[in-house]
Structures are given as C-alpha cells and as structure tokens.
C-alpha cells in the first residue's frame, strides 16, 4: 500500500500538468479539459486524506468523499454550462482560440 505522500505527489503533478495545459494550449475546449483535470487532482487529495484520517470506529472519514461527490456533480453542471457558453461563443465569433478572444483587455 502506498503512503499519503505518494498520493499527494501524484495529485500535485496532475494539477501541475493541468495548469501547464491551461497556460500553453490555446484551444478553449482543451483548456476546459485541463481545468477538469485540475479539479480531479484536487479530488484525489480529498480522497487520500479521507482514507488517511481514520475516524474513531476505524473506517475512513467519509466527509472527504462526500465532498468529492459534490465536486463531481458541480463539475458536471459546470461542463454543461461551460460548453454551452463555448458554443454560443463560437457562433458569435467563429473561433474558440483564446488568443483571438481578447475583448476583455483593460
């Protein structure tokens, strides 16, 4: 069985990869996927801690897992809305390349 640190390391690396994707890629859908990846990395941390923090009766602390459950739910909703926005955006601008979408320039 692996240790908590191992899981945290995997989670951190996964997060870093996601971040790298967000920064490097310019296709907004891929960026969105990378965001999902970062979210999932966070979930991994939560589950790892849930397993690590054994509660008084010897079972894992399920609060963390409930949290992950909620995260997954919200992520689903988020993806639905996000993709709808992307579709709308594409219809309006004919592009989903973030380098072309700079109308927020201050």
């Amino acid at each position: 069985m692996a240790s908590l640190n191992d899981y945290l390391l995997v989670s951190g690396l996964l997060f870093a990869i996601g971040l790298a994707g967000v920064i490097i890629r310019s296709n907004i859908i891929v960026i969105f996927m990378c965001l999902e990846l970062m979210l999932a990395a966070a979930s991994l941390t939560l589950v790892a801690f849930s397993r690590f923090n054994v509660s008084s009766n010897g079972l894992p602390d399920y609060d963390g897992q409930v949290f992950v459950f909620f995260i997954i739910t919200v992520a689903a909703a988020e993806v639905a809305v996000g993709l709808a926005i992307i579709v709308a955006l594409y219809r309006a601008r004919q592009t989903i390349n973030v380098e072309d979408l700079t109308s927020m320039r201050g």
Binding site: Y7, V47, G58, V66
Partner: protein
C-alpha cells in the same frame, strides 16, 4: 501488488494528463482525458473509495467526455490550425507547473513523518471492530436483529465482511449534508435552465444573422 497497482494507475493518470496537454487534435485530447480519469478512478478504488471511483468513471468517461466530443464534432474543429508556439507562453507553461511541482515536493518534505507511512490495510478485524459501533444503541445495548442496518450487516457479515462505502457515503450525505445536497439539486436545475437559455439565445442570434 498494491504498490504495483498504485504505480500503474498513477502512471495512467499522469500519462493521460500529459497526452491531454500534448495532443494537437482535441478529440485525441478528450480520449486521453478519459484515460487519465480511468487512472484516477483506479487510484480512488485503491483508497477503498469504491463509490467515488465508479462515479468518476461514470460521470467523466460516460457523460462529460461524450459532451466534449459532441461539442468538438459539432463545432467541427478537427481542422484546427497548428500549434502556435509562443515562447513566452511555453516558458510560462513549463516553468510555473515545474515550480509548482517543486513546491509540492517541498510541502511533502515538510509534512509530518506519518504521512510517509503506508496506509494500514482495512482488514476484517477493522471491519469487525467498526461493526460493533453500529450495533449499539445510544444507551449501550445491542440492537435487536430487526433493527440492524445494512451497514452493520455488511460489516459484520459472517463469511466475507465488506466495507459498505456506498451505504456509508449515503448515510453521511443524508444525515450531515442534507442541505447541501438539496442546494446541489437546485444548482443542477439552474445549470439545465442556463444551458437552455444560452443555446436558445445563440440560435436567435443565428436567425438574425440569416
């Protein structure tokens, strides 16, 4: 064996992630994301979080990936223009995650020693012990058989006691997180309505353009 599975799934998750970032074609990216998530789900299961692992596969691989692919197809983005390497972006994109990873390492280094100990396995004794806690009434008496919960029965199963984590999560959610659950339901509703509105408006715009 445990260790091997950890490395396997960990490798799957990280490798999928790297491929996700690396593939030029978004469809390939989507597929590699699924690979990554399957690896993640494996890690979850390795942590005895069976329910979350399954949900992860169901939701991400089943629903979200389909959505992504659907949208990619809808927008017909296959012929995307090739990667434009802007050195500053690449530099930032590499340096920052690298820094982050180093920091994660540092954090792990600083963490207490017990974090580096291997998790104790959940054995039958553990389950038995836990079962006792579910068998008692509040005043300390043993519950009669008719009132024994599924959790107890599963934990204290004669032949093969199992960790009933779905039941336990369910209990936690409905006992302690009832209100957030309700709110989550509303959130999903709002998201549904939002998506409808968003797509509707865009169709109207399309009509106008025509």
């Amino acid at each position: 064996m445990d260790q091997f599975l950890f490395y396997l799934f960990g490798f799957l998750a990280l490798g999928g992630g790297l491929l996700l970032v690396g593939f030029r074609n978004p469809v390939s990216s989507a597929l590699s994301m699924v690979v990554s998530f399957i690896g993640l789900a494996g890690l979850f299961i390795g942590l005895n979080a069976y329910f979350v692992g399954i949900v992860q596969i169901l939701v991400y691989a089943g629903a979200i990936m389909v959505l992504f692919i659907f949208i990619i197809m809808l927008l017909d983005l296959n012929n995307e223009k090739p990667f434009q390497f802007r050195s500053a972006t690449i530099l930032g994109g590499l340096a920052i995650p690298l820094l982050f990873a180093i920091q994660v390492l540092g954090v792990i280094q600083k963490g207490p020693a017990e974090h580096s100990e291997k998790f104790p396995l959940i054995t039958e004794e553990t389950l038995q012990q836990a079962a006792d806690g579910f068998a008692l009434k509040s005043d300390g008496e043993l519950l009669p058989a008719s009132e024994q919960t599924a959790i107890y029965r599963s934990l204290a199963h004669q032949d093969s006691p199992k960790l009933p984590d779905t039941n336990l999560i369910g209990e936690t959610i409905f006992k302690h997180y009832n209100m957030p659950l309700q709110i989550m339901g509303v959130l999903l509703l709002v998201a549904t309505v939002g998506v409808v509105v968003l797509s509707k408006r865009s169709s109207k715009n399309a009509n106008k353009q025509n």
